[in-house]
């Protein structure tokens, strides 16, 4: 466990080197969220009753989506892991007395938590104080915030476990760029990164809500903005736990299989 703790620490110190990048990230997320909200405002004033979320719920959803954008993104930098596979330094990794799956899992989780803390959480200091209807409203009960945090941790687990499957696929496929673009598009869309899953047509939503992607972002955000309450929260979290377990097991098995046949060119 100490090993995993230091992986987090190394990442944090590393990330702190690039403070101006973090500032740029905050600015970008802020304007991105603001533009989204302005567009939703126009849609809501054109036809109020046609949305399955209220405007203020949508605003809260969009802001939290921006705050946690990096946390729930499946394809991020993770340059170390890619180059390890591509350049063959995987050989060193295999000599280390730490499980490779565990190490990479924590490394990729840390690679998301650190930039979120530095580059996105500062947004939380701004958005609750915006004028008018652009303001993000915090949930009124402490219990809901707690459920939201738990759901976020589960979502991060699902994201990291899914990303592991993507890394492992790179042992077999050499097209990093293609895989990354496809995974980005699919996970972004089906996790509520583009529009809240509530805005999907009802029949599509019933299916999409059960896919692993919904567990990656949409569930915590729905708990946050209050469109998911009571027993729905419980079932949502059960789905998250289910996918986390499935993806962890699948990833672990795939890793074993991949490492058995890994060939490192000498040199």
């Amino acid at each position: 466990m100490r090993v995993y703790g230091s992986i987090f620490r190394i990442r944090l110190i590393n990330g702190l080197q690039y403070r101006s990048v973090a500032l740029g990230e905050v600015l970008m997320r802020f304007f991105w969220g603001l533009m989204e909200i302005l567009a939703y405002a126009a849609l809501f004033r054109t036809g109020q009753g046609n949305f399955s979320m209220t405007f203020s719920q949508t605003v809260s959803y969009v802001w939290m989506q921006q705050v946690l954008f990096v946390l729930f993104r499946v394809v991020v930098g993770d340059g170390d892991i890619y180059s390890t596979i591509e350049e063959g330094s995987i050989a060193y990794e295999l000599v280390r007395p730490v499980s490779l799956y565990g190490r990479w899992f924590f490394q990729s989780a840390a690679g998301r938590v650190v930039p979120t803390v530095l580059g996105s959480l500062p947004l939380l200091l701004i958005v609750p104080f915006l004028p008018g209807s652009c303001r993000m409203i915090f949930p009124s009960q402490a219990g809901r915030i707690l459920l939201f945090v738990v759901s976020c941790v589960l979502a991060l687990g699902v994201v990291a476990a899914f990303a592991m499957l993507m890394y492992i696929s790179l042992f077999y496929l050499t097209s990093q760029r293609g895989i990354k673009i496809i995974v980005t598009a699919v996970t972004h869309f089906f996790s509520g990164g583009m529009i809240p899953l509530r805005f999907f047509p009802d029949r599509a939503r019933a299916v999409v809500q059960c896919l692993p992607f919904a567990s990656m972002r949409d569930m915590p955000l729905q708990i946050w903005c209050g469109t998911m309450t009571g027993p729905e929260v419980f079932w949502g979290m059960m789905i998250q736990i289910f996918w986390l377990a499935v993806l962890l097991l699948a990833g672990y098995a795939a890793m074993e299989h991949a490492l058995k046949r890994v060939v490192v060119q000498g040199g």
């Binding site: 970008m28 849609l43 036809g47 293609g178 673009i181």
Partner: protein
């Protein structure tokens, strides 16, 4: 001289084609990316059928014009995406000592042909939007639509150039400039007036994206008849000039990273 540049392009195309599966997967990825953003738009707008005064068909015109412009701009401006790397690995030093245009030497070896995936999808959506927009099409209006796409491509190209030029002055990647390119692609799916007065003014006078999308759309839908609205995409072309000047200024300040 032109032959050399054509050789650059064909060598680049051949090298991208060496990894056929990789090329194909990337094209498919671009296609899916464009499709998800179209569905994202479709699902939301369909609930209302319109945004402000613009019908769903007209919104779709905006989406496809901007998406087409972006993909053409990025197809040619692919070299700007890797510009920081070109500066860092000394490739730029080699470019400077050759007797040719600096800009073309940056661009031609790095054109990103996988963007046809994005392009293809945008053309498909445009094909759906043209009959559904409720616009009475004439030859002149069709020409204006082409002008919108052409000027839009130039504006996006200039935006990629602009954000690449910043690499001369900073060593870190300036990711927040993505909001000018990827952000504009995303926000351009609605007529720019829906974002309010301030944003519209910014996109008219600072970054002239509204000139290739919102104003000509007013002309196409016959809300405005003044020829100025039809000519606005041509005015947007002027945006390239300051961006090119800034790039030249960047070159004049360039210090090699050494070997």
């Amino acid at each position: 001289m032109m032959r050399v540049y054509l050789d650059f392009i064909s060598a680049n195309l051949k090298s991208q084609m060496q990894y056929k599966l990789s090329f194909l997967l990337t094209v498919v990825g671009q296609f899916i990316t464009a499709f998800t953003s179209w569905f994202g738009l479709y699902f939301v707008v369909q609930r209302v059928g319109a945004i402000d005064d613009f019908t769903q068909g007209q919104v779709t015109i905006c989406f496809s014009v901007i998406m087409l412009s972006f993909s053409i701009g990025e197809l040619f401006g692919g070299g700007f995406a890797v510009f920081a790397r070109i500066l860092g690995n000394g490739e730029f030093d080699r470019i400077l000592i050759r007797p040719g245009s600096v800009l073309l030497q940056v661009l031609f070896p790095h054109m990103d042909f996988t963007r046809i995936g994005l392009l293809l999808q945008a053309v498909l959506v445009l094909g759906i939007a043209i009959p559904k927009s409720g616009i009475t099409w004439t030859g002149a209006k069709a020409a204006l639509l082409c002008l919108m796409i052409l000027s839009g491509s130039v504006v996006f190209f200039a935006l990629f150039l602009l954000s690449a030029t910043f690499s001369f002055f900073t060593t870190q990647s300036l990711q927040f400039l993505d909001i000018l390119t990827y952000g504009a692609r995303s926000f351009g799916r609605y007529p720019f007036c829906v974002y309010g007065e301030t944003v519209l003014k910014f996109l008219t006078f600072v970054i002239p994206l509204a000139l290739v999308q919102y104003y000509p759309l007013l002309y196409l839908t016959e809300r405005k008849t003044s020829p100025l609205y039809a000519l606005s995409p041509a005015i947007a072309l002027l945006f390239l000039a300051p961006c090119l000047a800034f790039f030249r200024f960047g070159i004049s300040r360039y210090k090699s990273t050494g070997s």
